[in-house]
Amino acid sequence: MDKVQAEQLLKTALADTTVTFRDGQWEAIDALVNQNQKLLVVQRTGWGKSSVYFISTKIFRDRGMGPTIIVSPLLALMRNQIDSARRLGINAVTINSSNTEECQGVTQSILNDNVDCLLISPEKLANDSFIETVLQPISDRVALMVIDEAHCISDWGHDFRPDYRRIVNIISNLPANTPVLGTTATANNRVVEDIQTQLGEIQIQRGPLIRDSLGLQTNILPDQASRLAWLAQSIPQIRETGIVYALTTRDADQVAAWLRQNNINALSYHGKVTHPDFTFDNGARDSNAYRQYLEEMLLRNDLDVLVATTALGMGYDKPDLGFVFHYQAPGSIVSYYQQVGRAGRGIDNAVGVLLSGREDQDIHDFFRGTAFPAEYQVNEILDVLAGCDGLSVPRLEEQTNLSKGQIEKVLKLLRVENPAPVIKVGSQWRRTPVPYRMDRARIAHLTQQREQEWQEIQNYMEEPNCLMSFLRDALDDDDLTPCGKCENCLNEELISSVVDSRLVHQAAIFLKHAERIIKPRIQVASNAFVEYGFRGNLPEALRAQPGRVLSRWGDAGWGKMVADNKHDNHFSDELVDATVELIQERWQPEDFPTWVCCVPSLNHTELVPNFAQRLAARLGLPFVDAVEKVRVNAPQKAQQNRFHQCRNLDGAFNIEEPVPEGSVFLVDDIVDSGWTLTVLAALLQQAGSGKVYPVALASTSVSD
């Protein structure tokens, strides 16, 4: 196969006799199809790496070989790639968690050799049952393996993912006669070297990274209200649609809600986003389907802005994206470059503004601090698994006091080790004979690396010279000619950083109205309520109503005051007023309660009853001290999973009967898992009360 023949394939596929290869494309194809090389291509997004692997696929298929496997980290990317494959006449399919229904048909066509290209996520490649049922049957014939966003392999990469370690193990076991292509748009020299070390004998091809149409700017606006105001006044100034990045799902939801309140057509996009219209056949919410819908809305400009977390990341390709604003600063320059680089791919002018606030530091501290599970959690799980022939996650919850999330985080860390101390067989986790100690040095190294990356972002915020050059330099691009488009090159702001004080005031009020719904718990852990006798799903008549929590612990609205007041052992009248306002003006429960009670505590006997009494007085309702704590139990916040959260409450409370018949507000200060409120709601209704509406001041639930 020579260049002319390969180019002819491209021309034929696109039915366009004028197309030619871009710089480097043929060289990459040649290395794969003629020399069976292992190759890492570092080229800016939009360079056309997909032409490389799709034309290579065509050539391999013409030789009668099996399909190409493309490992790609994001759904959005896969959909784009499947479309561009189709334009080249290549039958590409994907198997992922969002298409489980079609999965069987897709699998069959793969097994029948009707598929040219199979796109899968790194998680799929780490899934043993997928490997067994789909990959192994065809793996004798697979022609090429492609690892998209290969920088994720590196510990030094900004976006290291555990499942990529599994990919490294597989790739480094590929014999010398097997070609591999890794691609990335964001890898500095250190990352490239690290990838080389891990994969061994891999060739590198590197191109320039500049993005001509993008104008950059940075603004430090410490308080959230100012940044919300800035977004609300700046977004309408730009004709094209864009993306606002936030750090947490809660922030994304909040910013989107604020923008909507200001007549900007905004929706939030993150890993947990769902919509009642997008469900699986069994009625469960299908987040993937809704996210796909959101991506398409933005592609068609049916939205002004998508407010996203990093879940909208690599590979989302919309050529006419006019702006990328950051409500909060990302953790590293590489991830900033990647996110801001989505703007202006196919248009002459686009703008990227990085806002930074005072909470960013705390959020990144939290991310760093929770990136790895604690050593005691790892040891506890290994000890339990060592004593048996395998346990499922729910059984692990019973045998350890660790949350499902913690258990899964531990297992995720352990299973990608090589050799690994645990493996998954069916739904069971089994201990292997591999001795294991947590690699503290590696964790310390990674944490330190994250701190350095965060420092680099601070430096970017304060950079006096060309901002684009700063980014290119950080990515080891040699050409550092000033861009002539950023606020420093132009010596004037692209978008004014002066915010309208009226808007700032409105944003501050908006932030104080940041209450959340307390979702009633329904399914109790089995064997947990021996004394109370609750089992399975709580009957409808005993369930709590959806409640309200005024703030998130420590947040910019009321959360800080809740935290300070709790420390002083007295909740202020301001919080009483705020709760009354929440209840009367925004919540307005349907079957409005006729009395108030509260969750008792043996440690702080006055704090919550005192608050509840004042609240009752302001609402004009009687306070009834109906709930008694009869057993000293461990702090509920020390209970890490459903089983222990439930069991810790069994027999802890007694209801003093009779209770009033009407609906009731059940007041507590802090809500975490929500089980205390759920159990008391059931007990109160058993004792004859009406509906139970939980109210709390702050939430500390991690899932918020």
């Binding site: 490997i131 004798d140 004593g387 201990r431 591999v434």
Partner: protein
Amino acid sequence: MKLTKNAQATLLLTSYFSKPVKGAAKPLTITEWGRFAHWLYDKKHQPADLLGEEQQDILSRWQDVKATSARISELLARGHSLALAVDKWQRSGLWILTRADEEYPKRLKQKLRNDAPPVLFGCGNKDLLNSGGIAVVGSRNVGDEDLMFTEGLGQKAASSGIGIVSGGARGVDETSMLSAIGAGGNVIGIMADSLLRAATSAKWRNGLIQGNTVLISPFYPEAGFNAGNAMSRNKYIYTLSDAAVVVHSGTKGGTWNGARENIKKQWVPLWIKPTNDTDAGNNVLVSEGAQWCSGNLEELQLESLFTQIADASPQDDMFSLNEPVASSASSSEALTQEELIPATQTNQVSIDFYSLFIQQMQVLAVEPVNIIYITSSLELHKSQVTDWLKRSMEEGHVVKLTNPVRFQWNKGN
């Protein structure tokens, strides 16, 4: 742990990576591989060369009715299958040894020659593979008395510092191994199936993690039970041991065939436990050349089992060295049986132990071996071996290699 290119090529040619698929090229058998590997060697090639540009050139010169060039190319193209399978196995704690590896058990190479499997999968402490011990074999279903004997034998071996070698199957195999592990002894298990599963089972876990158990299998680690594999596994149990005890044998089946194969090949001294079971094949095995050992554990001297005696009661101790049968060389060795252990043929009161040592070294140290291997093979104290090694080097019988320190019989001597 990355496989060498030679190991990758060997694995591609000889191993399954998933359940056999209809129509796909079958991995080479041990015999086919032996033929091909010899030819490669003759042509001054290594298996790794098959993974480079020379592959077509090399294979164009190879002719074989069964192991055709086309079949070999098809096997070599299974790179992705290899990578997926090896990743899974290594993550689960399995390792892979080929004959080229330093840790590959020397006994298999010496006693089985070309029949030694090209690839061994395993988990646990590789160093135990050369340490020998007593093979304990028997039926899956045996009576309580036999199981108690087996359990006691495992414990006794453990407390005497002697390893147990067995097949990991239910019944006698498992009992002997678990009782030895329980008593802190060394155990070598040769699995006929499901090595991957065994590696993650609670029953073997402690021994594996603590380093006194090693489980190996020459078969695809995820293979289910297969009578053929179970049968061919027997030869590895015998050849990895120094002596074998049959607790109970039927008159057909794995134990029976394995024991008779050992009698025929004379790999190791074979001892049979007396039984009252009239259906048992124990008697016949003795009539075919095996010997009774004591059914009373307290009387049984384990060290004495390492030397076979033709005409003696089982109670005899290790100093009854009359008329031994060769125990450690295959028929292909140039040495005759007399040359192997000649000194023991006389009934002299004083035996020259040093010359016995020298004669043993001719066999033991054909290839370089370390001192631990020598001490464990000969059941001697290290200080004694050090002494004799020094003398044998001075006399030019043995040469010392360094880095790591090993000793080899001086063929030019």
